[in-house]
Amino acid sequence: MKTFILLLCCFYYTANLANTIQVGKNEKISTIRSALELAKDHDTILIQSGHYAEGNLIIRKKITIKGINLPVIDGENKYEVISIKADSVVVDGLKVVNSGTSSLEDFAGIKLYNSRNVTIQNNVLIQTFFGIYSQYGRNCIIRNNTLTAFKKEEQQSGNGIHCWKSDSMQIVGNSITGHRDGIYFEFVTNSVIWRNQSQRNLRYGLHFMFSNSDTYVGNTFKHNGAGVSVMYSHHVKMFNNHFEENWGDAAYGILLKEISDSHIEGNYFIKNTSGIYMEGASRVTVIKNSFRNNGWALKIQASCMDNEVHKNNFLGNTFDVGTNGSLVLNNFNGNYWDKYEGYDLNKDNVGDVPYRPVSMYSMIVERNPPAMILFRSFMTTLLDKTEKVLPSLTPENLIDAKPLIKPMNL
């Protein structure tokens, strides 16, 4: 009984502490700004649907802001719309539109400054410069937001979800379109990017710089200007992502530059100009991925070492592997290559002759790109066949000694 009363008291106390403030045209308080002034820590501000253009709203208290039926918070193309400068803030269900654009300041739809445990969820951001921006964020959740921008040029556009010097972030289930980079990470550690859709962004769908020990799972990166780029990081893990239709000479399913100790598993690379482009990557494991209908499934430069490429399916790619030198310090074993023409006498589902994934013509095209116009002509087929018998141009060590006879079920 004692505890019950104590609990009751507790509830009463907290209930007394945490007020709910209604904001709306027909309510006592009609502006968000005055509600923010009135609110104390742990209060909830409920915003009725409507149009609110109140300049830059700065949140300095530990409060929850919840929109009902997506109230529109308008930055009038001049201001940063919502700035969060307190911990444990929740921003839920707002429609943030028209943030200012600046080449000096990084205006954002919703921006976190040195905050912890902030949750930003179920918001819709339209035509913001940066979408959601975290600066020194710790342990924050950015969940189920939809970000759309319509800018045409990279320099006029900001990133969708931009995290800088943050840690333990959770970016989950967001959908980002039309920004410069869909998701941008710089000096962000121990974070997870899960089930996001990043499509039709001007530059990268996902851009990683100096961000270690992050994981991204189940995202879709489609039709971005330059695909996905992961640079200067280590211990990055990528599982079950889709990289599709990233087209162009500088567009990659993933660009891995100076990446080490990372793990790429169960991803789908479909119809990219280059599925994976590795430069200076080391100790990266590429396993159980599916490469379909890419121009080059894998471009692995001679500057890469100790990478392991195993148990992947290579289907319908124009070129399986491209490289720029004869030095090979990587291992390719046990993959399925649909261009493999060997045999399997002992029926153990492993081909008895090794497969050379680098075709001569991919070396020729690497050196002399216009030669692409002769691709698939009788002449070049002949050259490829001769090269298979007597390798001279292609790197001798780049072989899959145990190619699979049947594709894996991936």
Partner: protein, 255 residues
């Protein structure tokens, strides 16, 4: 004119060679599609057939046919018929029978197994190449009186378009590797109908690889509607120009 065309077509279709050509195409296409585990790979093997075998058969068969029907042509010429009409009827007859043979032999299996944009492009290119090489063959046949020499020339023409031309282009590409050759290559490709056809198919088949920098230049030209229209016009020119010159030659020829 209609009567002559009808006669030529029935004559050719009765011919065992064109029949076996159709069956050969049909057998190869069906085997390719049923052997390969994915049909887009089958399309790739068919591509080589279309680019190599179709021109070869149509150029050689047409030349031989023209030489063998020399007496028939002389007979026709003695009738009150325009020489131009006789020659064009012969061309129409040959072109129609090769088109029919290709459509049955390769078109039907492609439509059955792979009715995609790539498949349709292969059919279109195959038909055009058949007709182009009929026109080229007739030009070669009318130029030389000697049968053996004529057939030799047509084989050389085929060898040139199918193999030597690409070799020369590759050689030039490497000799002038320091220069921006992308745009020049587009012009060069118009000089060889087989290459032009191959590029049109490539644009559908390897579109991801072609989206690279140089590929993008090709894509920007050949991938647009104007580019495709221009390419098809060039392919049609490859029919019209040899036909025009061979007709002119035939009209003036002392048989």
């Amino acid at each position: 004119m209609k009567k002559i065309i009808k006669y030529v077509i029935t004559d050719i279709l009765r011919n065992k060679i064109i029949l076996s050509y159709t069956i050969f195409l049909l057998a190869i296409s069906f085997t390719i599609f049923s052997l390969e585990d994915n049909s887009s790979k089958g399309l790739l093997s068919l591509l080589n057939i279309v680019l190599i075998v179709v021109p070869l058969i149509s150029i050689i068969f047409s030349t031989i046919y023209i030489y063998n029907s020399a007496e028939f042509i002389e007979l026709l010429v003695s009738q009150p018929l325009q020489r131009k009409k006789i020659w064009l009827s012969l061309f129409t007859g040959l072109a129609t029978s090769f088109t029919i043979a290709f459509l049955i032999g390769a078109g039907v299996p492609i439509l059955l197994f792979e009715p995609t944009a790539t498949g349709l492009m292969i059919i279109a290119v195959g038909v055009l190449l058949s007709v182009i090489f009929v026109a080229v063959a007739m030009f070669a046949a009318v130029k030389t009186r000697d049968k053996a020499k004529g057939i030799g020339i047509t084989i050389l023409i085929w060898l040139y378009f199918a193999l030597v031309f690409d070799g020369i282009v590759l050689f030039l590409l490497f000799q002038f590797a320091d220069y921006p050759l992308e745009k020049a290559m587009i012009g060069v490709s118009a000089l060889n109908p087989i290459d032009l056809g191959r590029i049109l198919i490539l644009l559908k088949m390897d579109v991801s690889a072609l989206m690279g920098y140089t590929g993008a230049i090709f894509k920007d030209f050949f991938g647009t509607t104007t580019g495709i229209s221009i390419s098809f016009v060039v392919l049609l020119l490859w029919i019209i120009v040899p036909l025009f010159f061979s007709t002119r030659k035939f009209i003036r020829k002392d048989l």
